[in-house]
Subunit: 165 residues, 3 copies
């Protein structure tokens, strides 16, 4: 079973996904795969809020880049927070786009239950910045791949979710 | 009863919200709370289009900042156009984020029927500009607060609405 | 019959619209109206991917500006890829906004079956750039016009569609 929560910045997708995975797991403690590398203070503050909310409900793993290697050993539901940050890190480490998408495809074939969080970034005006455009493209390709393989997809806005699949 | 219309720029959310409130009110004339401060000619032109459409269907009140104080004295449905502009004005007047969200929370507890219009701004690529990021964050937090308290939430695009709640 | 597919960059709207039109046409070969002018290599590469996918399923017509004149002679379903690019081209050729919207309105009254693809660009933060704001406005007005006249409207994200109408 694979589930995708896609939405904008501060759309409430993280909280919706956390509630969803905790409800599905019952007494079993799910994994929380944090993909954030701590680049700056603003990012740190943002992550701290998420951590506080998770408290003791999850077993946290931090891995910014090696998504497939990390996930293939896990045997309980994993909340991946978030795919966008992993894409960002992979680009930063100059991994070619085709390799990134191939790894994501392999991740989506794993038997482990995955709950994936992803930023929708393609609904604004196309930016001048070429790197930003490259990221939007990769992000959208990744979203389509997840949309195809996931059993359920929720679009999030205003802390609410609309089921697309 | 509280209702939220959330959508992008020129998504038709204002017209959809106006039609909705007029339909709900029947013969009773609803209030129209305009939160815009007239910063420049472009903004003035945009507001003029809205005003022309409202004609004599609403009792218009203009208040860019004091949302709670203005709304607590009203006893008929109020269309708030729009929450995003009020957030923008509050930031401009250097009201701290926590105070802004607390005031919005209090507004959402008022007994008066509210129809709230809000811009979704978090679905584009994250901007370089720190102030823009701060606004996106505040806007999203406000949207989540409204999403939680509102009885009905509509996501708008292409002049159409999708009910999220 | 008129159908609109609206969504972000790389939302999968093109593929969804292509599948939709091919399914509706059965053995009849539909038209594919490509509105792109080949401005740069990045755009060329993007278009090449679309062309490869279309293969022999469509009769391709290339017309960046004269939408009404091109469409009024066609008697089989036409996939218009995409309205956003046509708006962009029309602005580039300094056609006034009111003329552009009037032409689109006339297009939407034609008897021919149309499947229209359009970018939603209004869900990000409002850009500093005045031209970008002008484009967002025009794009939203065009989307509302299409939303009003189309029989079916689909909002696309992650390669999936949500029916709005």
């Amino acid at each position: 079973m694979k589930t995708l929560f896609i939405g904008g910045v501060k759309s409430g997708k993280s909280r919706l996904a956390e509630d969803y995975v905790l409800q599905r797991c019952g007494n079993e403690k799910p994994y929380y795969l944090a993909t954030t590398e701590f680049f700056d203070d603003e990012m740190k503050a943002r992550v701290a809020v998420h951590q506080q909310r998770r408290q003791d409900s999850f077993i946290t793993i931090e891995e910014p880049v090696k998504l497939l290697a990390t996930l293939q050993d896990l045997d309980r539901p994993v909340l991946v927070e978030c795919v966008s940050m992993w894409l960002n890190n992979a680009l930063y480490h100059q991994i070619p786009e085709s390799d990134i998408l191939q790894e994501l495809d392999a991740v989506l074939q794993l038997p482990v239950e995955l709950i994936l969080i992803h930023n929708e970034v393609g609904l604004g005006v196309i930016p001048d910045n070429r790197l930003a455009r490259q990221f939007i493209d990769l992000s959208g390709k990744a979203a389509q791949l997840m949309g195809r393989h996931c059993d359920r997809v929720f679009f999030c806005s205003a802390g609410l979710k609309l089921q697309m699949k």
